[in-house]
Symmetry: C2
Subunit: 771 residues, 2 copies
């Protein structure tokens, strides 16, 4: 056989195995006539995209073998799961990973049976699939994942098949421009293969139905050299694809050595369900939307369909592909690359295998000096920026900082002392901090930031995504998919832990007074806590030193999603570094200096989580101390939100005894929270004293105004907290009626001042803890 | 003056007013030397994009006047709020809308002072801004909104300015392809103006820095005729823009009468902060990222900057633009279109003014006949499809059904009896149900579906978005922005109510057993309930008849976001139509036939919300009746989730007395919920009997398996509910130990059967209420 005959044999074998997975419970080699009991009772799977995916696998394998090319494969149409599984089995990886699924007839039987079967494997490409970093779930992220994998992997080619359905999504449409952020010297290369099979579920696709000249312009407009491989005759297509890949890899070489700034891409146009049934029950199937899932239904009961299935499977000539024991014949195994060069076994696709720990400077060296608590202010993210600067410097090929053009806005600009923003398009004299290979990645697309970072992490590197808090909701769905990937991966022994996905949410709800209502939403935390406790962590450090400690902790962690909420505006420095470390280690604790319980049981607990709520709580505590000195107040600050849950719900959860020790068995708790109040109730409703818990937080009130007006609009201000205490501590209502009225008046005065002067009352704005 | 001199005067006036809004508290006409007290203490606003927005306004006004063109304006860079406000004031609309802001010096003073000022108006384009349907919040949706506005508005041109920052987002990148869904005969036209000023916040933008030839190819690839208007000399640019708009409107005419399938678009390339300070403190500002927000800072304290501000404002020659009383001169007011032709007063931008109620057939006519409760099954969405079919037929230009290629998958296919899918690209013989002007809009982009629908609703029409439940998270952020728009609009008297945004979430978490873990997420409800109670509604109809009643209710409502969760798979018909109407009107109620409390207080309450949880709850009730007949069980079904809250939290909320009457003061409640259990706790934690509430729901367990295995994985199955009852009703543990063990065994048997046979136990799958 010549090379293309080998490729064709491999392709037919993969197609045979794919069909078998969708339909067969037994009789994998069709050694007996196909009977109803050989057919699965529920036919689940997607045939339509599968032969195209197999075609690409087969041809890329030839290139890998010929060039000893380091390459991974991202299947955008991940619902074509049978293809990725077939490929891993043919390459021997499946058996290495799951020894029960041997590379013989019995193994093939198990391979078929387990697919989309209870107790078996998912129907889509999933963490369970060897060689994958890309779930076949929600569509849109394949190309961003591919670029994430390519960054800082100079020898790697990431082949990325993009379905024409996925190509209609927004994130994918934006991802094409990722090539402007790629550095030919320091990064690998992405080879996009736009697979036009013409249909999504029940509809034609846009890119398959625009004039070809328009499509070519679009791809050239995205900065690519375009190669079209179109047809349905296998022999012709094999020759065309092989020839095209030769050109493509020559162009990649030219890109790499700087002879050409443009990267190639391939438009692969093949019929949907290629090589499957042409027509079923009198209507066309191959090449139409009807081939999307299972082209032949009712095969178990319909003898005619069953005969068509047998004929379809035999059309791949299995007798040439597998020996009598069901093993792939030598002509096929000979084409399989060796060891880690197999795309199903490439270590980049199990990134934990390649993970190098970050070299972290001692975060304590970046501490703000705090001589007295809450007596001075710092900008937490600006302080963090100095730590991140040195993290970047110490890890020049292993860490990236991502954000939608907000790194400087979020006051992390110290990082620009040592690096630039990745940029490979035109630069002008007035630009600042642009550089190919820059460690900071800024693009006005939260989707791209998230997708790049996911690809980067899943291939064994580290990163931090800084974002405006409100707009992180843009990637809620991507977060969900990544969290699910981590949840599933933790159950899979051979998947090695990867670095956590770290979010820094700055420019948060309380400091979007200037941008207004549309920029005010702290609800990402609610999305996050719905995911499994084994993968999610939420931190609300109240000052610069606790932010440093938290960030260090998160950068060292594995397999989590860490959400850090921290402001960029000046907030009071509450903790010395030693105190910050102790406080963050406990996750929450009493600020003894701020309370006045004097060893006795307090009358009321003022709790807080988040920088602005903490500031207001401290100010309220000071007001109470001044005006109601006999009231015993305890102040509790929470950094690690998950501590509030019971240990049965989250590994960080406090015991009931600890919770009661902190929050008392029966005293009123006024909890001032950064986000929507319901989240605190959700985390604490099982606690004995929950009935006395009163939570303040964002209640969806806001506009363009001043910072203190924002907190007043939502009743989380110091004056309202004092009112809340008066209203909730028994017998205080009468005793403190005068104080209550003074608080009401103070709010009115603050509001009037703001409306007259356009800024906050200076004594409120510049308040510090009384010396 | 000739026409372009008028345009220039208008532009200068708008620029003057924009700068004044950003900086001035007083002295609006600069009649006195500019002093510190004339300057705002906090300078908030975005100058960078504003002169370009003003330039477009001015030129489009000329076209409107000349052609009596019906046109609205969407400002993608909505943070250029001063532009939209200046325009409304110059056109007189601002004064008509807000009479205190008169069109004279005193009004100008108020106009300046109120901008970004406490008690004033937002810094971004907002619901408060006359002429807007597009919030200047999160970026990415301008073009989708524009197309939504254009659908079914054949005479309308929607001018849409897209910032080059926004153009980097995914949703915007996908939105360009909306032109394939536009019908030249039935729809209006969108005129995209890609405004390249070169920078986002601190960075250059991708589209501004790719070679112009690539940019042109990209836009041609998107299917447009491309016109470039580039430069910085005002006179040259006026001439070029005017000439270009003549060509553009000639091309639009050719498109409309079918002579040309391609629509024009304009690339407008002008310096960022055009006509602003060239250089400040020795660094260039105009034409750089430094012009993004406020080019001159510290104007209050810095006399040199203050002098530069005065010089800058005087450069617009205000003495030629406003008379001594501060009124715009006749040369400017003469260019303003009349009445509703003004873009700031066009009724399409206050869509409630144009809203026609839907013609709704009687939903009762589509009822499933139910002879006995839970004795037969229907596919709820398939039944709903017949109703929607007739809604579409009765409202051929006023209602659209949107979804990411899932209308048939969600079993609404009856609609294709009367309409097609909107499609204006190539069609093939094998295609089905494609038609220009089709009422069904399918594109594999949830962002586009949502953006189109928002634009359609805000211009006074109606619609329904059907989507897989898990993937509706893709538009979490868009939902947030739309909900905030509605929240703000409700406080603005002149904004007329618009039709509600209706979601139908089908293919929900419990019926994604075949697609697997990545497709299982019921958390959108949690995102929704964070928004204000005044705008959000959540419904979980358990069967076909309640779905019909709910859908009818939602389609009649105004200014809400309604979320309906309903499955497409067969579920038991629980209610006759009369019962369904009564049940939906109450929002929740006791299913007396399913319980056996016999007038006494029940021993336990089985509550449920959602179709699959209701089915399992009924089966559990039947098991209890069979095996523990002496146990008094009450079954409560919840359709309207908001009923669970106290009336202080939501207008649908039940009083505590009602809640206690339904859920008892002290008996165990086992609540089987469609979504994450925490949501039920969040809604009910204030209720007296909350301590006895035990909620089952999705706990993030799933894979590719069978439907019953999915419910077992999450412990919401009938057997586990019986166990939950036994474990929670006092003294039952001993009495029912045998039954408990039988339930444990039944689960194990069901699991084993599924793993052996690949499908659910038939008696479980086909279970109906015992006759």
């Amino acid at each position: 056989m010549d090379a293309l005959a080998h490729v064709d044999a491999y392709w037919r074998a993969a197609n045979y195995l794919s069909v078998g997975q969708i339909y067969l419970l037994d009789n994998p080699l069709l050694t007996e006539p196909l009977a109803p009991e050989h057919i699965k009772p529920r036919l689940l799977g997607h045939w339509g995209t599968t032969p195209g995916l197999n075609f690409c696998f087969a041809h890329l394998n030839r290139v890998i073998a010929e060039r000893d090319q380091d390459m991974i494969y991202i299947a955008g149409p991940g619902h074509g799961g049978p293809a990725a599984v077939a490929h891993a089995w043919l390459e021997g990886t499946y058996t290495e990973t799951y020894p029960a699924v041997t590379q013989d007839e019995e193994g093939m039987r198990r391979l078929f049976r387990q697919f989309s079967f209870p107790g078996g494997i998912p129907s889509h490409v999933a963490p369970e699939t060897p060689g994958s970093i890309h779930e076949g779930g929600e569509l849109g992220y394949s190309l961003a994942h591919a670029y994430g994998a390519a960054f800082d992997n100079p020898g790697l080619v990431v082949a990325c098949v993009i379905g024409d359905g996925e190509a209609e999504t927004g994130p994918l449409a934006a991802s094409w421009h990722s090539n402007k952020f790629l550095d030919p010297l320091r990064d690998g290369v992405v080879l996009p293969i736009l697979h036009l099979n013409g249909y999504k579920i029940a509809n034609p696709t846009v890119l398959a139905r625009i004039p070809e000249a328009e499509l070519v312009k679009l791809m050239e407009g995205y900065g690519h050299r375009v190669h079209i491989v179109a047809g349905d005759d296998p022999a012709t297509m094999h020759a065309l694809m092989a020839e095209t890949l030769e050109e493509v890899f020559a162009e990649i070489a030219a890109y790499r050595d700087g002879r050409d700034g443009r990267l190639p891409m391939i438009v692969l146009r093949t019929p949907k369900g290629w090589t499957g049934p042409r027509e079923v029950d009198g209507v066309p199937v191959e090449g139409t939307w009807r081939a999307h899932q299972v082209p032949l239904s009712g095969v178990r009961d319909n003898a005619e369909h069953r005969a068509m299935l047998a004929e379809w499977m035999r059309s791949y000539r299995p007798e040439e592909l597998f020996d009598a024991q069901g093993r792939p014949v030598a002509e096929i195994t000979a084409t399989v690359p060796a060891g880690g060069r197999r795309m199903s076994a490439n270590p980049h696709a199990n990134g934990g295998e390649l993970l190098r720990p970050l070299r972290l400077p001692d975060f304590r060296d970046y501490a703000v000096e705090v001589k007295a608590p809450a007596a001075q202010a710092s900008e937490p993210t600006r302080v963090l920026g100095t730590f991140l600067r040195d993290v970047i410097a110490a890890n020049p090929d292993n860490f990236r900082l991502l954000g939608p053009d907000e790194t400087a806005s979020n006051r992390l600009q110290a990082v620009f002392d040592v690096t630039g923003r990745a940029w490979n398009a035109e630069t002008l004299a007035t630009d600042e901090h642009l550089a190919p290979g820059g460690r900071v990645m800024e693009v006005l697309s939260e989707h791209l930031c998230q997708g790049w970072l996911e690809g980067y992490l899943l291939t064994g590197r580290h990163g931090l995504f800084n974002c405006y808090e409100a707009f992180i909701h843009i990637v809620d769905a991507m977060f969900n998919q990544h969290a699910k990937w981590l949840e599933a991966s933790k159950k899979i022994g051979w998947r090695r832990p990867v670095a956590s996905l770290n979010y820094l949410l700055s420019s948060h709800v309380w400091r979007q007074d200037h941008n207004g209502f549309s920029h005010q939403d702290p609800g990402f935390l609610d999305v996050v806590v719905n995911k499994k406790a084994s993968v999610v962590r939420v931190y609300l450090p109240p000052d610069a030193n606790t932010l440093l400690s938290t960030a260090d902790h998160c950068l060292r962690s594995r397999d989590y999603v860490n959400v850090i909420v921290a402001g960029k505006q000046p907030v009071l420095d509450v903790f010395t570094m030693d105190e910050a470390v102790a406080h963050c280690t406990r996750g929450l604790g009493i600020l003894e200096w701020a309370g006045n319980e004097d060893g006795g049981e307090p009358d009321v607990v003022l709790a807080c989580a988040g920088d602005v709520p903490t500031l207001e709580t401290l100010a309220a505590a000071a007001l109470l101390r001044e005006h109601l000195p006999e009231l015993r107040v305890r102040v509790v600050n929470v950094v690690d939100l998950m501590r509030l849950q019971p240990p049965s719900e989250h590994p960080h959860g406090m015991s009931d005894a600890e919770f009661t020790a902190l929050f008392t068995p029966d005293r009123p708790i006024v909890f001032n929270f950064h986000g929507y109040p319901s989240l605190i109730h959700q985390l604490t409703y099982r606690r004995a004293n929950h009935g006395n818990l009163h939570v303040r937080g964002y209640k969806e009130e806001g506009t363009t105004t001043t910072p203190f007006d924002m907190v007043m609009l939502n009743d989380i201000d110091r004056f309202h907290l004092v009112i809340d205490v008066i209203d909730r501590v028994p017998h205080l209502a009468v005793r403190a009626a005068g104080l209550r009225q003074r608080m009401v008046d103070a709010r009115l005065r603050a509001r009037a001042y703001t409306r007259e002067h356009g800024e906050d009352v200076p004594e409120i704005r510049d308040w510090t803890w009384p010396a």
